[in-house]
Symmetry: C2
Subunit: 100 residues, 2 copies
């Protein structure tokens, strides 16, 4: 298996962190039935008030790419865009551990 992972740092517009977090949690719910998505964990930063981190792990980069064409994903991105001031992604190759 050639897993694909990402650490994504979202910076919300001022005062919009919780609204953005709700959308990301909704996106996670929508992925419940998507087997190729192993992790989509939403965190808020303990040190930066407007920052949300998402840890994603997918069975493959193709599975991740395919998810971006799902209607629910596209709708979530539409709703989220106005609330986002910045996005930084770190690509990862998950190799194992507890929770996969």
């Amino acid at each position: 298996m050639n897993r694909f992972g990402m650490n994504v740092k979202f910076t919300a517009q001022p005062g919009q962190r919780d609204a953005l977090a709700d959308i990301l949690l909704g996106a996670a719910d929508a992925l419940a039935g998507v087997e190729d998505c192993e992790l989509y964990v939403v965190h808020v930063s303990e040190t930066e008030a407007d920052v949300i981190w998402v840890t994603e792990v997918w069975r493959s980069s193709e599975a991740h790419a395919a998810s971006l064409s799902l209607e629910e994903t596209k709708a979530a991105i539409q709703r989220a865009m106005p609330l986002i001031a910045g996005v930084e992604s770190t690509k990862l190759k998950p190799i194992g551990g507890k929770g996969l």
Copy 2:
């Protein structure tokens, strides 16, 4: 529940990434029976040759702190120290998502 999370970036000494990754995967195995540890996922970076990322999620910061006093954890840290050139941790507050 007041979960505690961390994104930890380990920079290995040159040529020691895989040896360090093995120790971290061993640490993850040792946490299999520790219920308060929900995630301990080991990734290698897709862009930085000496970098390993660990995503940790714990039921509480107290549970995380207590794990540092486990004999297996202390032994793993001892083995890992000579292989580590740098460590950067980002504290997170996991709020939900797929995989928790």
